[in-house]
């Protein structure tokens, strides 16, 4: 089951819980909480699509952000929770000319920014197919940062809006 909060409001999920310390950017933050189930991925994409459009993202920017978030949430569900019950929180906000999404889960610590990326230029029979989700996330966003805190894994993606190009800037923080 998924819950969407109007901008600036915390949401309560069942069993009772709070999303503490959501992104706090101008214009407020919208939050979606899903169960760690791949059947909810379509809901995630639609949520991000709506939030990105509201933030003024163009169609290509929307598509890029949706892809990156879908890949990140998929990894939380498949490789993080690995079939165990849990939730994934997706927070979205605009910060100036940047659209910011944070994906948070309580799966075992895992830093996707350290995943070795496949070499897509190798011949097919020499290539590993793992890591494509992280590859796409890095290439389609301007920044991908990770933290492990008392709240769990937190992956923050940033996409500059209405700009061309954009490299990938990866940082890694880990604290408990």
């Amino acid at each position: 089951m998924a819950y969407v909060a109007p901008q600036g409001l915390l949401i309560l999920a069942s069993p009772l819980s709070e999303i503490d310390e959501p992104l706090a950017y101008q214009g407020g933050t919208s939050v979606l909480r899903i169960e760690a189930a791949v059947d909810d991925l379509a809901t995630v994409r639609q949520f991000i699509r709506e939030q990105a459009r509201k933030a003024g993202a163009g169609s290509r920017e929307v598509a890029d952000i949706v892809q990156a978030v879908d890949e990140s949430v998929s990894n939380s569900i498949i490789h993080g929770y690995r079939g165990s019950a849990g939730t994934v929180d997706i927070e979205a906000a605009r910060d100036g000319s940047t659209f910011v999404v944070r994906v948070r889960d309580q799966a075992p610590p895992f830093d996707p920014t350290t995943v070795p990326l496949p070499d897509v230029n190798l011949p097919l029979e020499q290539r590993h197919l793992g890591g494509l989700g992280v590859l796409l996330t890095r290439e389609l966003t301007d920044s991908m940062t990770y933290e492990y805190t008392r709240r769990g894994n937190e992956l923050t993606l940033r996409k500059k809006l209405n700009t061309a190009g954009g490299g990938s800037d990866v940082e890694h923080h880990s604290r408990t």
């Binding site: 994409r45 892809q67 029979e125």
Partner: protein
């Protein structure tokens, strides 16, 4: 996501055209692979994937593409349940079987995924259905 299949005559042997409508992600990519397996079991060896109405494809779709090509070649791809080792092993298979699959009219976002993952070099892409079928 909806999957529909049509069968077309072709110069060499019959071609199946599998049309995917909607979004392809971790929740349904196995359905696509299983559909290809059904077609293979019924005799199909060549497939056009009509992507004109596929609005989204996650990286699981890339795994599906490679798996479909292997299946049509008469082999079985590794199961995703086998974990990362299986995913990595998939890349070690021969690239020849990818010629059994042609792609038709991917939307821009799907096309970018194919491009960024290096798959466009291997899977021929067409914008005309007849041309895709005739290309086998």
């Amino acid at each position: 996501m909806n999957i529909t299949v049509e069968h077309e005559p072709a110069p060499t042997e019959p071609v199946a055209v599998m049309r995917l409508e909607g979004e392809l992600d971790q929740s349904n990519y196995l359905h696509v692979i299983n559909k290809a397996r059904e077609l293979r079991d019924a005799g199909t060896r060549q497939l056009v994937l009509d992507l004109a109405d596929l609005n989204y494809m996650g990286s699981s779709g890339i795994f599906a593409l490679r798996s479909i090509a292997i299946i049509l070649g008469g082999d079985e791809p590794p199961s995703p349940d086998d974990g990362w080792g299986a995913i990595h092993e998939l890349g070690n298979r021969s690239a020849d079987e990818v010629k059994r699959v042609k792609l038709l009219s991917p939307q821009p976002a799907v096309d970018r995924v194919l491009e960024r993952t290096g798959m466009k070099r291997y899977f021929e892409t067409f914008t005309d259905r007849a041309a895709a079928i005739a290309a086998f």
